[in-house]
């Protein structure tokens, strides 16, 4: 594959100091998804990166499956390696779905109303995931 490459372990600013590039590599989002509850009553994607499918699980619950797998998972052992954050319309809160055990490809997501905590479908949600890839 013909790609231009700049190899550097450190980026240095003239006054602000230096940054190890491993922070950039490890700290970038590895998957994201922008979806809505479209016609037909199930989720449709507006745009995404590293997502192979989204599964409409139930009211306020869906799952995102990645194409390039995580190195480890929420479901592996006792550690929660990957970080998921999101936002939704209409003051819904988006969070990892602890009831839908994650794997190195499957990531459960739930949406609930902030004031009551009850599961609810937002018309649109944005999810960002961080973690190490396999």
């Amino acid at each position: 594959m013909a790609l231009g490459k700049i190899k550097a372990d450190t980026l240095e600013h003239s006054t602000a100091g230096s940054l190890d590039t491993k922070f950039v590599v490890n700290g970038s989002a590895k998957a994201w998804d922008n979806n809505n509850t479209g016609s037909g009553g199930s989720l449709t994607s507006t745009d995404s990166l590293n997502i192979s499918s989204r599964t409409d699980v139930a009211t306020g619950r869906f799952a995102l499956t990645v194409a390039s797998a995580w190195a480890n998972s929420w479901g592996a052992g006792s550690n929660e390696y990957n970080i998921l954050a999101g936002t939704s319309t209409n003051t819904r809160v988006v969070a990892a779905d602890a009831d839908n055990t994650g794997t190195t490809t499957l990531n459960g997501v739930k949406m609930f109303i902030a004031s009551t905590g009850s599961l609810n479908d937002g018309s649109r949600s944005m999810v960002i995931m961080f973690g190490d890839l396999a």
């Binding site: 590895k30 037909g40 192979s52 989204r54």
Partner: protein, 155 residues
């Protein structure tokens, strides 16, 4: 049509980034409805447009058996972290698929194996491929959605 670079040996994530830059997303009308628990409502799997573009383009996605190998590793009780992630990146990528072949691949990748391996065993099918127009048009009673008992299964 944009030619796919030689990607064998390139990290899958880098290939997906290339695809996002160079390929237009393909919105599939296919949906996969499945039930993996008698206590839960039907789930609906929706293909991702960028992923579908990769499948139709060819030369980007690894064979589905790679994911099954990783799933086997993950099922081990002492699993901590993948050590065979190279399978995703170094295995020869899949050639271009039709949309229907891509849906079959996606079922084997993203649906539970307990569903797709025995989808037509038992009293009623537990998985159905349909078009989005065949789904309910609103989310009313979403938690009660089930695969219809009146379904005629194609031979």
């Amino acid at each position: 049509m944009t030619a796919t670079p030689e990607f064998q040996g390139t990290h899958l994530f880098d290939r997906l980034c290339w695809a996002k830059e160079n390929l237009d997303g393909v919105q599939s009308d296919y949906r996969v409805v499945y039930e993996d628990s008698v206590d839960e409502c039907a789930k609906i799997l929706v293909p991702d447009p960028n992923w579908m573009a990769c499948a139709l383009q060819g030369g980007i996605l690894p064979p589905v058996w790679v994911y099954h190998e990783l799933a086997k590793d993950e099922a081990q009780p002492d699993f901590k972290k993948h050590t065979r992630g190279y399978l995703l990146h170094e295995t020869e990528p899949m050639p271009a698929m039709t949309e229907e072949e891509a849906i079959e691949y996606l079922i084997m990748k993203d649906c539970p194996q307990s569903v797709w391996q025995t989808w037509d065993e038992g009293n009623r099918p537990k998985m159905v491929i349909c078009r989005k127009e065949q789904l309910p048009q609103t989310r009313e009673w979403r938690n009660a959605w089930r695969i219809s008992d009146d379904l005629t299964v194609a031979a």
